[in-house]
Every structure is written in C-alpha cells, then in structure tokens.
C-alpha cells in the first residue's frame, strides 16, 4: 500500500517538475555536431561557421542569390568601380584591392572595428605558426597600405579571381596581446587565443549576437550584441544545443525542447526530414535547399575494366539517377551533370547529357567488347567478368541505400559490382586518401561558390607517398589542358572569359568521365511556423549571416 502511495505521489509530482514552456523571445536550435574551436580561422568546420555566423561577420559573403556582397565593407571592390586594380609587383602581375570598412561597425565591447583589425588579421593569417586552417586569403597579401581607420589597400602577390572575397577579422585589441605573447612558438597562439580560452569575452565578435554562455559539447547561448548597428535582433536569446543522436534530435523537436533543426548538414538527414514532413506536415516549415555538396562516384581508371571510357559512359547511362532521387529523396536533390551546381555562376549546360538509357549503355558495352554471359553479367573475349568493387562509408544508412539501388541498376545493364564498405575513418583516412580503392568509391565533397577545382582536378594535387598523400585529386585526374584551364580560371578576371574557361573544364570533366556524378545534396531545414526572415542559401555563407532578420511572428 505504501509503495503504491509513493508511486502515485512520484507520478503526480512529475508534471510539477516539468520545465516551463519557452517563450518566443528565445529560439532553441538543435544541432548534431559541436564546434571544436570558436576561432574564426582555425578548424574549417561547418558547425563552427554556423555558430560564429551569429557573432562574427566576414568582410564579404555570397548572399541567398549566390551573389558576392559586402557585410563589413561599404562597397564591394571590383575592377569596374576602380577599387580593384592590376599592378606590377617586381615585374610580376599583382593586384591592389581597396577595402572600405563600414564606419558604423563596432566589436561587441563597443570598440570600433578599424583597419588595425585588418592589418592584425593579415599578420596572424600569414604566419605559419598561427595554425590557421583558413589561410586563404591572407597569405596572398604582400603588404597593406592603410589610408585611414576605415580604408586600406591590400597588395596581392598575384592576380586572383578571389580578390573580392575576404574572411572574418580578428579583434586586434583583444587578440593582439595574446599573439604577441605567444611569439613565434608554434601552436602557442592556438592554445592561448581568447576565442577558445574565454569565448564569452565581449569584443570577440561584430555580428548581431554575442556568446553569453558556452559549454563545450553541450550548448552555446547567444544574446544580442548591444553595439550592433544593423537591424535589431529578433530574439533575446538564441540557444544552440547539441543533441548528437538524430532520433533524439527529432524527439526533442516534437517535444518542443528545441524549436528548429539547423539544415546546413549539421542536423537531420534529408530522409528523416521527409518522413517528419509526411508525419507532421503542418507542425513546422520544411525547406529543402539544393547545396554545393556534390555526391559522386570516383572511378579508379587504372583498373583495366574502367580504363575504357566507353565502359565508364555505359555505367553512367545505366544509372537512373532521376528515379533514384525522386524515390529516395522526394525529388529534392537535383541530378548532377558535373561538380558545378546549376546555381553556380560558372555552370554550363553545354556538356554531354547522360540521362538514363539502358539500351545505349548496353550498346556501348558491346562496342567495348563486353557481352552478356549466362548469368546476365557481361564478359569479354577472355571470359573476364565485367565486375568491379563498389565502396562507400559503412553505417551511413542513406548512402548504403543509394548504393544498393545503383548496384541493381548496374546489374540490369550487365555490370556486376561487389559492395565493399568501410567505416568512414578507414574509407576517408586510408582508402580515398591513399587511392586504395580498386573500382568505384562513392562519397561527397563541398566547394565554395565559384571555387577553383584545383584540389580535386589539378594533377599537382594527386595524393602520393611523395607528397604525404596531401591533395584531394583521388581520381588521379591528369590532363595538361585541365591544369592550364585551372590556372587560367584562378587568374582570369574577365567574366566572359571566365565563363568560357569554366565551360571547357566542365566539358573535359564530363567527356573524360573519371567520376560518375550523382546528385547535389539538398540541405533539409526544419523551422518553426512562427519564424520569419529565415532564408537558407545552400552554400558555405549560411543563412545565419543574416540572422538579425530572424523574427518571431
């Protein structure tokens, strides 16, 4: 009897213990990852960019229409407006780029943001001992000519198409003494930087919000920056809360413990959001924004079977990618023709179209000497089977599902693939990095808007033992013309010529077909119905860079 009374009392007490409902002055965002550092230039993580986007603005950023725009500057430097000029630097062509910082900007402790901060960031950024993982673009600057507290001319060592894309600044008045104290002792600055030692220190950011509480691996709490000169932030508090398990993340969303899930690859997967939308169509606003993350299959062309371009083309014709994205992703992820997203200004549609055509695939295989055997799999005159290994990341349920669909589609075109999946660590850390795969390897990578494909397609970036396996050209793409075009793309400033160079690069990529393009991932955003002003971008300069526009209805 006593036990029953106690149990009844305990159950009755539970509602009393329940937390109070959060008001709309607060916005709680659920994320499945947590930043390892809060320094703007250390560790190039998506989740770090997401958190810092609320507090720290880059000088320039691509907007929702994928157009470059000023955030900390008052006028975007271009050749047309004269703020960017070609110049001669010791007999070599360089550039002079004038940065005009906005005069109304302040750090979150009230100190003005000036060219001192620009010069300081350059000094730290070009120092190899600073440990910057976002070294670009500071290492390209040879000198800075300070005109006044808001204007400076940056002298670049080479002509570069990225002359008007510039990263975040560091607060010289806070980080200066730390950097000075660290001297040139390798890694000391990284350990002592205030961004990591005391991230709630006022003055570290210049955006609409500032970090008021930080618990590593738990949550970041943001409150409005009193010195922000722009539109008044719409929330008194934004909480970014880590819930690593995505099933728990969904449950938290449904329980109201979190209001929204960040969509930029740091929250739920697209299939989870599609299921959530089907189950609760009216509870949230669902946004699927195609992104720059490119899902593809690398081919090992040293494999005798894949050395023949006709076989590679047959494989792509055999894949019904449209049906795949329609059935698995509700048609939300666009089919890819190359690594360049149609939303990218450098995209061209004038490349060979490999729409699903099984008959064409079989014809190409026949032409290449492969004919269907008794078991339906093709063999050649030496009786060798048309069979290759197909690897991807084990444990990524969605990717494994895609892999099985592709396996069936290839089999229907008499191509046998044997699945050989590995944990992500092994797959990326060994198999891809050291090019140990023998056939097909499916994974994704992200690029910036208009980013040069040097890392993935230039012959100098082929990972080898000699270069300690650095570089991401895992397909060992080695084409002198492509190398030349990449060099040109990086230094060509005429937009029309730039487009022509990019068009030719895409044509070579598709014609040679060392990669089977699959689709561009879509970022799945789940936001509350009452949230206004939320506009996902689909690229690395995320929606949070305009978070002051987020308001509750």
């Amino acid at each position: 009897m006593k036990i029953r009374t106690l149990a009844a009392f305990a159950l009755a007490a539970l509602p009393w213990l329940a937390q109070p409902a959060s008001a709309k002055d607060d916005l709680v965002i659920g994320v499945a990852q947590f930043p390892s550092s809060l320094h703007p230039a250390v560790d190039a993580e998506v989740i770090k960019s997401y958190v810092l986007g609320f507090t720290t603005r880059p000088i320039t950023a691509y907007d929702k229409d994928w157009k470059n725009s000023c955030l900390l500057c008052s006028e975007l430097p271009t050749l047309a407006n004269g703020l960017a000029k070609l110049e001669d630097i010791g007999g070599k062509k360089g550039m002079a780029v004038t940065i005009k910082l906005r005069t109304d900007l302040k750090w979150s402790d009230g100190k003005a943001l000036t060219t001192d901060d620009l010069v300081f960031t350059w000094n730290v950024g070009k120092d190899p001992a600073s440990g910057f993982t976002n070294g670009h673009p500071w290492s390209d600057i040879t000198s800075i000519e300070v005109i006044n507290s808001s204007t400076a001319v940056l002298h670049l060592s080479a002509v570069t198409y990225q002359y008007n894309t510039w990263d975040s600044l560091l607060p010289a008045h806070i980080e200066g003494p730390v950097y000075e104290k660290a001297g040139n002792k390798a890694a000391d600055y990284l350990k002592q930087t205030v961004f990591n030692r005391a991230p709630t220190t006022p003055g570290l950011g210049n955006g609409p919000y500032m970090i008021s509480d930080y618990k590593s691996g738990v949550q970041v709490v943001l409150t409005p920056n009193p010195f922000w000169p722009g539109a008044k932030p719409g929330f008194k508090r934004i909480v970014i809360k880590l819930i690593e398990n995505t099933a728990a993340l969904q449950a938290n969303l449904l329980s109201g413990d979190i209001d929204m899930v960040a969509g930029e690859g740091v929250g739920l997967t697209i299939d989870q959001v599609i299921k959530l939308r089907d189950a609760y169509p009216d509870k949230f606003t669902y946004v699927f924004k195609p992104s720059l993350t490119y899902e593809h299959i690398d081919l090992k062309v040293e494999n005798p079977i894949l050395a023949d371009v006709r076989v590679r083309r047959a494989m792509l014709y055999a894949l019904d990618r449209k049906t795949l994205v329609d059935k698995l992703f509700g048609g939300m992820q666009p089919v890819a023709q190359s690594w360049v997203n149609p939303l990218d200004p450098n995209y061209t549609k004038n490349v060979t179209n490999f729409d699903f055509d099984r008959a064409k695939a079989k014809a190409l295989l026949t032409e290449a000497g492969w004919t269907p055997g008794k078991d339906g799999i093709c063999t050649n005159k030496d009786n060798a089977r048309l069979s290759v290994e197909f690897g991807t990341t084990a444990g990524n349920r969605l990717r494994e599902l895609v892999q099985q669909v592709l396996q069936d589609q290839l089999k229907a075109a008499c191509i046998d693939v044997t699945l050989k999946n590995e944990p992500p660590r092994t797959f990326f850390g060994e198999t891809i990095k050291k090019r140990l795969f023998n056939g097909l390897a499916m994974y994704a990578w992200s690029s910036g808007v208009g980013s040069s494909p040097r890392r993935t397609l230039h012959s100098a970036q082929i990972p080898t033992e000699a270069n300690n396996y650095t570089g991401s050209n895992a397909i060992a793409f080695n084409d002198p013309r492509m190398d030349t075009l990449i060099d040109q793309a990086e230094s060509e400033l005429d937009p029309a010529k730039q487009l022509a160079v990019w068009a030719e690069m895409q044509k070579i990529y598709v014609d040679k077909l060392h990669v089977l393009p699959l689709f561009y991932r879509a970022d799945p955003h789940v936001v509350p119905k009452w949230l206004l002003g939320y506009t996902p971008t689909g690229h690395g300069d995320m929606s949070i860079l305009w978070a002051e526009n987020w308001k509750s209805q």
């Binding site: 390892s36 819930i243 728990a248 992200s446 690029s447």
Partner: protein, 317 residues
C-alpha cells in the same frame, strides 16, 4: 592489509603504464589524421598548409617520440591539450567526470536498490508468481536496448506527456537543483534499468543458494523472524558473488554510458571518450581511457576489500 593495498596499487600503476603504451599505439595506428578533419570543409586548403599544420601539431614525428613527449609532460602534471575542445585536457575532463559521477552514482544506486529489493523478494518464493513477474522485469532490463528504451522514455514523458525535458543537463537561465534533478530522471532510469536486470538475477540466485544453507535452518529453528533471517543471516552471505559483479559493472558504467549520454545529450565521460577517439584527439582519448582503466582497477580492489569485510574467513595477503 595495508601492504596488500599498496601492492595492489603498485600493480595498478604498472597496468596503467602498460595500458598507456597500448592505447597510444592503437590510437596512433587508427586510420585518419586530425588534420584531415580540420581542413575537411576548407576548399582552399593546400598541401603546404596541411604539411605546416602537421608540423605545428607534432604529427610529423614518429609515434614513439610523440608518446614519450606525452608521458614526460603527463608525469609533470600536463596531460596535454584537447584538439576537439580547444582546451587543456584537465579542463575538459573535470566537468565530464562530474556529470558522469552524477549519472553513474545515481543510476548505480537506483539499480542496486531495485535489484536487492526485487532479488530478495524473488528468492523467497522461487518459481512462484511474484518470482515469475520479477524474472520478466529482469529479462526486460537485460534484453531491451538502451537506445530504444531512451527513445521510448523521451516519446512518452517528453513528447506526449510533456512532464520531463527530453535532453540536456539544465535549462538555460535556470540551473537550480530541481532543474538538474529533473534533467537526470530519464537518463538515470534508463541507465539504471539496463543494469538492474542482471543484478536482480545475481541477487536472486545467490540468495536462493544461501537460504538453503544449514545456518539459515538453524536460525529459523532458533525462532528468528523471517525478516531477520533474510536480511541479517542470509543477505550478508549472499553478497560476496553479487559484490564482484557490481564492482565490475561499476567500472564499465563509467565509460559505458555512451548511449544514454548521447540520447539525452548528457556530456559525460563515455561520450567524451567516444568523441575524442572519433575526432583523433589523442591526448583526451588517452587520458579518458586511462581514467576508465583506473576506475575499473580501483573498483576491483574495493570489491576484494569488501570480501574481507563480508566474510571474516577471507584474509587478504
């Protein structure tokens, strides 16, 4: 006794040293590189930048040399810097340890209390209806996956009833004792339930065996009440095998609460060790694993000492 304890502590230190070599070696042999993770989202990373970062973090040195540097620093009290948390290891370890202690001690107390109560009740009438029901609870505890149980708890008590918070350690801006306790209820019950099942079975089996012994019959013949027979004469003797199991579980609970911590977003030791291994955070992973090893060794020592207290016939030499 004192010399026994010191000898065991000496052995524990030796084990820790060997484990540090083994763990460091294993982590070092794992595929992947911290630098790969650091530049993963940087489309502008160059091979030169990668090489510079490798040198900066000392990753260009041979594994043995890196271990030696770590050991030398560790012996002087510097456990290194955590790359995943961008903070000294001790600063990361302390809050995780505190959180784990809260969760682990609460759930351990919960499961021991439930296991002793139900185990003793079941042992009094083996094969009866009550024993069957308790057996059902025990097997449910053993076989229900923690992941599923956690999710069901969240769905029932957070999503449907809105009685309890779904995750976290406290609400932003609150942080009162009540708030912390509320956030602990579901993780404690989930983790506790997972270990209770096994404990119940051990307590029940041990009690059944002891209740059949001659001294119990003698106690009953002398007119001792049933409560005294069970709790005083039988229970203490039944504890020896149970204590062994519980001591071993105590050590594994420390780093085995990974699923509970992940599901309820509780930043404890299990999750910290797991994240540090995934993130190639050598210093933190090594320290965390060594700590877990130490706890296991100490809990075994505590169990051995408890034998002597429970059964005066046992002497420790």
């Amino acid at each position: 006794m004192t010399s026994y304890v010191f000898r065991r502590l000496g052995q524990a230190l030796l084990v820790m040293l060997v484990m540090s070599v083994v763990i460091y070696g294993l982590i070092g042999l794992m595929p992947g590189d911290p630098i790969d993770i650091m530049i993963a989202s940087n489309p502008n990373a160059t091979p030169e930048m990668v090489a510079n970062l490798r040198a900066l973090y000392g990753l260009d040195q041979p594994l043995l040399l890196r271990y030696w540097h770590w050991l030398s620093a560790a012996l002087s009290g510097d456990l290194g810097y955590s790359r995943v948390h961008s903070a000294p290891v001790l600063e990361v370890l302390a809050p995780a340890l505190l959180q784990s202690c809260k969760l682990m001690l609460s759930s351990f107390t919960f499961s021991v209390a439930v296991a002793f109560t139900l185990g003793i009740i079941a042992a009094r009438r083996p094969g009866g209806l009550v024993d069957g029901l308790i057996g059902l609870i025990a097997f449910a505890g053993i076989s229900v996956p923690v992941f599923w149980l956690a999710l069901m708890m969240i769905l029932i008590f957070a999503v449907n009833l809105h009685w309890l918070p779904a995750s976290g350690i406290s609400n932003v801006g609150d942080g009162s004792l009540r708030d912390h306790l509320v956030h602990l209820i579901m993780p404690v019950v989930t983790l506790g339930f997972a270990t209770t099942g096994g404990f119940i079975r051990y307590v029940r089996a041990s009690m059944i065996e002891v209740l059949r012994m001659d001294h119990i019959r003698t106690a009953r013949a002398k007119g001792a009440g049933e409560g005294r027979v069970v709790l005083i004469h039988a229970f203490r003797n039944a504890l020896i095998p149970v204590v062994t199991i519980m001591a071993l579980s105590f050590g594994t609970l420390f780093n085995g609460a990974l699923l509970t911590e992940t599901m309820f977003a509780q930043p404890g030791m299990g999750k910290m060790i797991y994240d540090s291994i995934l993130g190639n955070d050598f210093n933190l992973a090594l320290t965390g694993l060594l700590f877990a090893t130490g706890v296991t060794l100490l809990s075994n020592l505590a169990a051995d000492l408890a034998y002597g207290w429970l059964d005066p016939r046992i002497t420790l030499q």
